[in-house]
Symmetry: C2
Subunit: 221 residues, 2 copies
Amino acid sequence: MAKRRKVGNLLALALLSLLSQQPMYPYEMAQTLKARGKDNSIKINWGSLYTVVQNLEKYGFIEVDSTEREGRQPERTTYRITEAGQAELRDWMRDLLSVPGEEASGFAAALSEAGGMHPDEIVELLTTRLTRLDAVNAAEQAGLKALAERLPRLFLIESEYQLAMRIAEAGWVRGLISEIVTGTLSGVDAWRKFRDTGEVPDVLRHLLDEEAKGRWDEAGM
Amino acid sequence: MAKRRKVGNLLALALLSLLSQQPMYPYEMAQTLKARGKDNSIKINWGSLYTVVQNLEKYGFIEVDSTEREGRQPERTTYRITEAGQAELRDWMRDLLSVPGEEASGFAAALSEAGGMHPDEIVELLTTRLTRLDAVNAAEQAGLKALAERLPRLFLIESEYQLAMRIAEAGWVRGLISEIVTGTLSGVDAWRKFRDTGEVPDVLRHLLDEEAKGRWDEAGM
DNA sequence: AGCCGATTACTCGTAGACGAGTATACGCCG
DNA sequence: CGGCGTATACTCGTCTACGAGTAATCGGCT
């Protein structure tokens, strides 16, 4: 599951999908993606675009359909998808849809280092995040509503998904803030003391000892 | 906000955080991260490790503390964090915690291409995802519970976060499946028809026309 | 008629990510 | 006490991502 792809960039997925509908040349692909608003979910990078197209060709997922020049413009190479490309697209989609996980989040990484900062500062930062999340979500919700009048929702599920996730995140952050503030989160008291006075809590000393003996992984997480 | 970092790899964040506690040599950093179970949230890659350390040094965030050799082993270079490094760590943390978004998800990308597959297949795949999500979540929940008995929750927030997000995702997926099955999701009927009979729905034809004229972005999403 | 800015379409160079490979030392089993 | 598996500590080379730069054409305005 979630196996390594020969061409792993998500932009490649979008391109394969595009070419499965009709042949195109690279620049046209980028334009079409932009026109369809896909540049929200996938960043279109000129550098990547041509590398990805090249690699897709290298591995036989797409092939040259024709090359022509209009006037004296630089040559336009039109590509079409191959059988192998169709298969790859299909397989990749199945994989992405059916296998959860894998995404590394900066926020999660930062959370796991949060012990290095003062609780009050964390609360302040999280509050800022929450405000921004709420703002973005409200805007997005309004945007979605507007679009929903002209488009079947089918075309908007991916935005709905992202919105749902961000709403969930907002909820979680709200909860965390209140847990830190009220002290419900076990460990904050010692943490705050440590950050304020420099006094190393027993728990921490304990943990460091255990770590030295490499006992952490025993719980099998 | 969310500005470009001189050293952008999340591994660098972990390393800075580690070195802000005490000087270490690269291999030791990797060991410590593993011992602390951080290899769940951040993948530790030998190749990346040394590149990142090198870059951190290049930009003055860390500096050589000492180099020694025990016996005839390869030289061990111990690094310590600099003032600039402390500042970078702090600033980066503030950024990661207070600014939401930015994470590109493969699932979202796949969702936005879902129109290219048959609804029944999508439902099948989503159901698989749901099963897996539920399984992973149950396991994680159990694991967390076990750990919570020995560790203050403070050390587990990042796992709690990831769990919360995956639970939210499961909920959303469950909803989507039922919306597709029952046909509540506007557009599925036409979609299914199209996939079954090849008959191009009016809506789609309409959209393609508009796209040609570049009207998509007007809603300002 | 001709100039300017936007659009089209790509090229190239660099920096980063990553994995496979390497080389030494240490423990321990027979 | 010799050999071998494992842990230690990196090195190297490839492949990918990306952004800045380029060069031609087109439309419109003076």
